[in-house]
Symmetry: C2
Subunit: 403 residues, 2 copies
Amino acid sequence: MPLSYEDARELDAADPLAGFRGQFAIGDDPVAYLDGNSLGRPPRSTILRLRQVVEQQWATGLIREWSEGWAELPIRVGDLLGATVLGAAPGQTVVADSTSVNLFKLLHAAAGLRADRSEMVVADADFPTDRYLVDAVAAGRGLTVRRLPPHPRGGVALADLGDLLSDSTAVVVLSQVDYRSGYLADLTSITAAVHAAGAVVVWDLCHSAGVVPISLDVHGADFAVGCTYKYLNAGPGAPAYLYVAQRHLDAVEQPVPGWFGAADVFAMAGGHIPAADARQMLSGTPNVLGIVAVEEGLKLIQQAGVDSIRAKGVGLTEMVVRLVDDWLVPLGATLVSPRDASVRGSHVTVAVPRAREVTDALIERGIVPDFRNPDMIRLGLSPLTTSYCEAWTGLDALRELLG
Amino acid sequence: MPLSYEDARELDAADPLAGFRGQFAIGDDPVAYLDGNSLGRPPRSTILRLRQVVEQQWATGLIREWSEGWAELPIRVGDLLGATVLGAAPGQTVVADSTSVNLFKLLHAAAGLRADRSEMVVADADFPTDRYLVDAVAAGRGLTVRRLPPHPRGGVALADLGDLLSDSTAVVVLSQVDYRSGYLADLTSITAAVHAAGAVVVWDLCHSAGVVPISLDVHGADFAVGCTYKYLNAGPGAPAYLYVAQRHLDAVEQPVPGWFGAADVFAMAGGHIPAADARQMLSGTPNVLGIVAVEEGLKLIQQAGVDSIRAKGVGLTEMVVRLVDDWLVPLGATLVSPRDASVRGSHVTVAVPRAREVTDALIERGIVPDFRNPDMIRLGLSPLTTSYCEAWTGLDALRELLG
């Protein structure tokens, strides 16, 4: 029997994280927001914190705030991110720049660690920035790019990768959760396989951080990047982060050395003497408003715990997959995302006819998903803010439109 | 006769820009803020705009705002910056990233235009980030760095540069206003000289933009970067900007290609197809909060006009130089900044004994200047917010402490 709205209400009633919705600024519009994996909703605490930082710290403290805490924000909030979301001990993570810029830095840093090798590996279906940057950095360093062929499912399994790894491989770049299909790669086994080939791996965690348990230190990860405006709810264009494993910190060279990455920022020394910890990866002046928003988002994730968030994420995606099967497949839709929750992140993608027009019609009704070329509708389920009823309502509208 | 507080009051009474102070959030603390050239004060309109963007656009519009204006912010506000401050026609300026990251991009882009040449020129006394990046980019591209020797005055005059320019010169990097001395370089004649040598120049406008009239297009500038948190009053760590002259847009390659620099951001095409205009220099997702703050700051500059701001900047620095001469030189201070207003930006630097301790003592009294290694106190005079009385009060406190 298809799942009813009443069933969704019961799932909400039993949801241990239901109370977190009240900690976000959520009104009547949109009716159903299924795009928290593109832009998360604002926590109420972030709204207050931004007021405080702008209207008190900036207005009154002014430049004095740099020595009262602002200068430490990239590493302090990086450490909180490491502890809460990444499974990273202090000193390895900084919040700064955009994912693109951080990925650029890490690709160079990683390639420099394997300067005797000639190949970079990237998935042909990965997010554009990742592919563009691999092409550009490889070209700049005279490396060959090996491409994982597009997979119907999207995302990368160990079996797909095996053939491409060799003693020529310098760096492998992979997304833990695929931005279209939501396929969840096995970070543990892939990292081990890359290491067995003598290469290093840069993980893009944009679509996994905050909704999937991650243990970078335990699994011996080398490098990672990700954004903060999705499941970390830090706001539009908030700064990204990067992780460099402790064991690599002495050896890496970062290509964009700026004053905030110096061991002593205000010494303004003759030559660049990099900081010993992950601060060495910083370049320019930290984006204060953005980083405090990251901090507030992380506090909520810390309260909820990533394991609980993951459990609800599985519950939400399971419900949506079931509704896709029951309602949408008979109307011509195809499930793009994995059916097995253990290899699925926190979004569910369906291919439907006229996906662009259908997306526009949904948005007209206050149902906000994401369109992805060429024929996909991506339904983001952000466990701290998405209710089962909200997801049900979104799918119900999609059913009507396809009907 | 030394200038009295009453004289300063009269100067304020006659100041046509005096009313702009009321458009900023200015309270009783600090007593005198002489560091608007490190971090400008918040405009009241920025406070309201940030509330609106966070509490309405982000909270309610959510992802829909990207297609309702957010995606255009880097170029739209870049064009406003070009029109208001840089003397740049549309399509050449974007607001994005940090000064460091932008400088990195432009150094590569510039060097790529002169790939047959072997040298980069930088001033040995320039801001650390500029020097670090020139060293790093030159090393990465196999170029030699030629250094303008430290000048007692700081800053670069055409005469200093002449010997270093040759047919080996690829790129010259210079600050228009020196971050320590406040020396104002002659952008026009230096640009012409660099061009005469067949090289290109990257101007760092951090300490000049908004307080000195600039006409990049008219003077045939090639590239420029700068920050927005100083005289543009966009807040701590707000995004920086870069300018690429129209004639270079087709030929430059930027080293950090990301999705927001693509001709069609959401096509997510196989290879990177750069946008035709300065958008091609973008990499990651734009920092929305930061860019709207830049826009609000620029609106005030547009209202006041850079010529009027410059006139008041000259008035303020003239008064401060006179007070330094009258009060501080007899107490052991030295004027580091040029005495001639035509080659001076909008800050005045003095060398004093025990400068670090004196700065701390000033801050204790609510007088906020900036300390710069090894013995300098930098007095920033931001014409839209600094009153003559405020500057007088700051100098008076300095006199007491040195006495």
